[in-house]
């Protein structure tokens, strides 16, 4: 036996027609070790003897070496004699020679264009049906709720309200204030050219109350609460918690989805109003500074000449419906999630994307509708 810790080696010596390969030392897969092909080069002897009399410790690297020798001897039709090698190493090497059983092929890679279009269309159709089904189930659940038959827990709903409403105040406030500031800056570029500095109040007030307030609150909540709903429900689904509810005869829609959607529906108008106020303050802060120098009371009085209750109402109506849509998107994606860690992550992402998409689409529908109604 060799000294412990000696590096792995393989020495080839040619005698007449026989190439003797002597392996020795400690073979470790994590340390450098000889390679059969490098060792042999393009020599083609009559027969090869592989001996392992000086071998120290060994692991899979030796098995790989033996298996490479076997393969080489088969391809070149040269006799290979194995001497003094550990039986276990030979057994390991034999594992590599076995052909793996033929397994059913898994579909991989990108499909061709028609297939891709086809699958996408089918998926889109299925998703639409899925969403419609959830909306339907929620409507039934609503009916049960008003008849007092739903397993709806106000405790859960209030906790959700705190999460999506009160806890969101700092971030909604910050973003709304900054949006008010940027609106005032951008607007001042235009109004100052006409000497109409004071109209900045009208512009910021109207934009914030009708559009940006509800919109910014909704976008923040889509990212904050919609994603959280999808992740929570997705996790519950992966953990079979939703199945546990179903087998109790409790509708997951009544128990999990409705409290969340109701919480968002109730809190969004308040958040939108709060966002309106903070956004107007943001605009006021810029208007009060150089170069506009509009005092706060003047700004406020000017704003009241154009912003009236109907503007605030449209904002609040939009906010409530955005709340519904965010809750619906979050819960829908959560219930749809794959039962895996990756599935939950994808559900959260999809919830935000779907939520924002629904917000923007419905916002433009509202814009047209309010225009026709003259609100």
């Amino acid at each position: 036996m060799s000294q412990p810790g000696a590096p792995a080696r393989a020495d080839a010596s040619l005698a007449v027609d026989t190439l003797t390969v002597q392996v020795g030392g400690d073979w470790r897969i994590t340390a450098p070790h000889p390679d059969w092909i490098d060792l042999i080069g393009d020599r083609l002897p009559g027969r090869v003897v592989l001996t392992g009399t000086e071998l120290g410790t060994w692991d899979s690297s030796l098995a790989l070496f033996i298996s490479a020798a076997r393969r080489w001897s088969e391809t070149n039709a040269i006799a290979l004699v194995l001497e003094g090698l550990p039986a276990e190493a030979l057994r390991l090497a034999a594992l590599l020679a076995e052909k793996p059983p033929a397994l059913p092929e898994q579909p991989r890679g990108l499909p061709n264009l028609p297939t891709a279009i086809g699958t996408e269309t089918v998926r889109l159709w299925r998703e639409t049906k899925d969403l419609a089904q959830l909306v339907g189930e929620c409507s039934f659940s609503m009916g049960r709720f008003f008849r007092g038959q739903a397993q709806f827990r106000w405790r859960d709903c209030l906790a959700e309200m705190q999460q999506c409403g009160a806890m969101a105040l700092p971030i909604v406030g910050l973003i709304s204030f900054l949006v008010g500031v940027t609106l005032a800056y951008t607007g001042s570029l235009v109004v100052r050219q006409y000497g109409g500095d004071i109209w900045i109040a009208d512009m910021v007030g109207l934009a914030v109350v009708r559009e940006m307030g509800p919109m910014m609150a909704a976008i923040v909540l889509a990212g904050r609460t919609g994603a959280a709903y999808a992740a929570t429900l997705g996790n519950m689904k992966a953990n079979e918690e939703i199945d546990a509810l179903s087998t109790l005869g409790v509708s997951p829609i009544d128990f999990l989805v409705m409290p969340r959607i109701v919480a968002l529906f109730c809190m969004m108008p308040f958040l939108a109003l709060y966002s309106d106020v903070v956004g107007i303050l943001g605009g006021m802060a810029i208007a009060g500074a150089q170069p506009l120098n509009i005092p706060a009371n003047l700004y406020f009085a000017e704003m009241q000449t154009i912003v009236d209750l109907s503007d605030i109402n449209t904002g609040v109506i939009k906010a409530a419906s955005f709340g519904l849509l965010i809750g619906l998107a979050g819960c829908w994606r959560g219930l749809q999630a794959d039962r895996s860690a990756a599935g939950v992550g994808q559900a959260a992402t999809a919830a935000v994307v779907t939520g924002i998409l629904l917000i923007i689409v419905s916002d433009s529908i509202f814009a047209v509708a309010f225009d026709i109604l003259g609100w």
Binding site: I29, W58, L103
Partner: protein, 265 residues
């Protein structure tokens, strides 16, 4: 790692290990040594700290006190570089395989080789094929973990744990969630790996069948004792341990435990 090196230090030597989460001490002054090429079981009832001990042994939690030595090298006091070196000498099979779900089985096994060795791509592929063949998953390299059954995931996890030919492999509840036959096959595989490569095996389990089938030695932990209450051959402990808790655990009876719970306030 065949045959054993000339200097025969124990593969793992634990002395006075104290494990705690915050202020809650789970294990107090645990000491034992695991010989090379031994199949060593850490057993005990639920909540006794088996998994905690395992997590401390593999360095996922720093112990509050005591030492863990691998072949004489101190793991706890090791510098970051030494620690990394030591980490490479052992593999861990987690309870549900813990395969990285975004990679195929082959990529899972190849990742340790890719990150920690200088092997060429061809060699890496051969080792992946070898390891998968060793655990009986030849041909499954291109499957994703989600496409495998529970038992196959564990086998794949084992292939990954074996990728660097570790000197020690830790198993966390290998039979959890497996049917008796699959669990038996996994036990056979574990023995085969020990016999082939002389790997030291440390298994956390409460599966009696596996314990009697495989274990060379067991240590039993107890929740109230916060430490080891028995150490030795499982059959001898079952029939002749002076501690009734040990006999009852290994005989699958519960009189003393029930009495104890009855008398408890």
């Amino acid at each position: 790692m065949n045959p054993a090196p000339a200097i025969s230090l124990p593969a793992i030597e634990v002395a006075g290990l104290v494990c705690a989460y915050g202020d809650r001490v789970v294990l107090e002054k645990v000491s034992f040594a695991v010989k090379r090429a031994e199949i060593f079981f850490i057993i005990g009832g639920s909540g006794c700290g088996k998994s905690t001990l395992l997590r401390h042994l593999v360095g996922l939690h720093p112990p509050v006190g005591g030492s863990v030595k691998y072949s004489g090298h101190d793991f706890i006091a090791a510098s970051a570089a030494e620690r990394k070196e030591l980490l490479r000498t052992f593999g861990v099979l987690y309870q549900s395989g813990a395969l990285w779900s975004s990679m195929t089985v082959g990529e899972n096994v190849a990742l340790p080789l890719e990150l920690l060795t200088d092997l060429k791509r061809r060699e890496r592929e051969e080792i992946v094929a070898l390891k998968l063949a060793q655990v009986g998953l030849a041909g499954y390299a291109d499957y994703y973990p989600a496409e495998l059954s529970g038992g196959m995931k564990k086998r794949a996890g084992l292939a990954r744990a074996l990728a660097l030919d570790p000197a020690i492999v830790f198993f966390d509840e290998p039979s959890a969630g497996l049917d008796p036959i699959t669990s038996l096959k996994l036990d056979e595989l574990v023995r085969q790996i020990r016999d082939t490569l002389g790997t030291t095996i440390v298994i956390v389990s409460h599966e009696l069948a596996s314990i009697f089938d495989l274990a060379d030695r067991v240590v039993m932990l107890d929740r109230d004792a916060k430490g080891i209450i028995a150490d030795g051959d499982p059959r001898q402990l079952r029939d002749g341990s002076p501690d009734p808790r040990v006999r009852e655990f290994l005989n699958r009876r519960g009189e003393a435990v029930r009495q104890q719970e009855g008398s408890a306030p």
